[in-house]
């Protein structure tokens, strides 16, 4: 049934739709991860250090949100072009786990740390945040290099 769904998907009818979605996805994650990374670098004492982390995070929030919207628009559409392949692709499953962890971490521990400002603990949180988001990128790239054994 899933396979039939992929065959019937109008997104598979054009050769340009998938690469276009990929481009949107790249710009989306550059905005999302990049704006979060700017705050993380601030927590580590690099970059925009004149402003408080909380202020920086608030100013960048529109761009974080724009990135989130872009990846959650393009991502599921890309998934729908070949759902069975993604479902059987372990890199995709790891990516989803990392994405879930990164999002939960971002809107809980990370947000609270940013509110409190720079400290030694904040540096650890910044490193954890950067690592989590980097692992999502790794998962995404490896999807294309794995044979799901269909």
């Amino acid at each position: 049934m899933i396979i039939q769904a992929a065959n019937a998907n109008p997104l598979n009818g054009s050769e340009l739709i998938f690469p276009a979605l990929e481009c949107a996805h790249i710009i989306g994650f550059a905005l999302l991860i990049g704006s979060i990374a700017l705050v993380d670098f601030r927590l580590l004492g690099v970059g925009l250090t004149r402003q408080e982390p909380a202020e920086l995070s608030k100013s960048l929030f529109p761009w974080t949100l724009a990135g989130l919207v872009l990846i959650f628009f393009s991502g599921p559409l890309m998934f729908s072009t070949d759902p069975d392949m993604y479902y059987l692709n372990w890199a995709f499953l790891i990516k989803m786990a990392c994405l879930a962890a990164a999002l939960v971490f971002h809107f809980s521990i990370h947000r609270e740390t940013v509110r409190r400002g720079a400290s030694a603990g904040a540096k650890a949180v910044a490193c954890a945040s950067l690592t989590l988001w980097a692992s999502v990128v790794f998962g995404g790239i490896f999807i294309g290099f794995i044979d799901p054994g269909l």
Binding site: N12, P19, A30, T49, F138
Partner: protein, 253 residues
């Protein structure tokens, strides 16, 4: 240039890199992580120069404080990019998107030099006088070039390498069912390099015909356009998948 590419990819480092199923995607991932971490710094600066965001931040602050991190990010991207290029130098030499990307890279460097005095080293004056037409032009050009750069980067993976190239990535996945291609013969593998002549003989590469040719399921195999291609000896059939290619079949001629 072509003979340099051939030499480069034949070095021990890049031969090993090309042969590895893990290291190559790992370097590609690092390339993208650098894009994610540092690309946004460029976007944020440009959007500020356009007056579209972070208006409570002085332009000088963004320009001066992010200069070093941006250069570090750029150096990382170039380093990983060179590693990626070296592994498939010959293939990339023919890749139209790779060529476009290198032209955009040159334009970006020219852009940086052209607006250096007026915009990028002039933050304090821009804060005093307000944003100028020049600063907005610089920012708009910068966004266009960098987004074009990312898109060309993605496009590289969609170009089928010409059949005559001497080294391609090893098959990553076994072909399925009746699509089993004939294994390359020893003679085909040992075809000596014919430097310089290959381009004239075979012309320029073409863009893949589309994603709908990919194998989506066992039942779909026959949908591949020109199935007979699969039975040609020593043909690398590259099937586009999300984020890369699934390689079927043997190595290049």
């Amino acid at each position: 240039m072509l003979s340099f590419c051939l030499w480069l990819q034949s070095t021990a480092l890049f031969t090993d890199l090309r042969g590895s199923a893990i290291v190559y995607p790992a370097i590609l991932s690092l390339h993208m992580v650098a894009l994610a971490f540092f690309g946004c710094m460029i976007l944020v600066t440009d959007l500020r120069l356009l007056g579209a965001g972070l208006r409570n931040y002085p332009v000088a602050d963004l320009l001066d404080r992010l200069r070093t991190p941006k250069w570090i990010g750029f150096a990382l991207m170039v380093t990983f990019g060179v590693l990626l290029f070296g592994a498939k130098a010959e293939e990339y030499y023919y890749n139209i998107f790779f060529r476009a990307k290198m032209i955009i890279l040159a334009l970006i460097l020219i852009h940086g030099l052209a607006f250096r005095r007026g915009v990028y080293r002039n933050g304090a004056a821009l804060d005093a006088s307000g944003l100028t037409g020049t600063s907005k032009l610089a920012a708009a050009l910068s966004i266009t070039l960098w987004v074009g750069m990312a898109m060309c980067g993605r496009g590289i993976g969609y170009i089928e390498p010409p059949l005559f190239i001497h080294a391609s990535a090893p098959a990553r996945a076994a072909p399925r069912g009746d699509l089993q291609p004939v294994a390359p013969t020893t003679a085909a593998r040992k075809t000596p390099w014919r430097m310089g002549s290959s381009r004239r003989l075979f012309g320029t590469p073409t863009v893949r015909k589309g994603r709908d040719q990919r194998i989506s399921s066992r039942t779909e195999g026959a949908r591949i356009n020109g199935v007979s291609e699969c039975f040609l000896p020593s043909l690398t059939l590259r099937v586009p998948r999300a984020g890369g290619f699934l390689h079927l079949g043997g190595s290049g001629l």
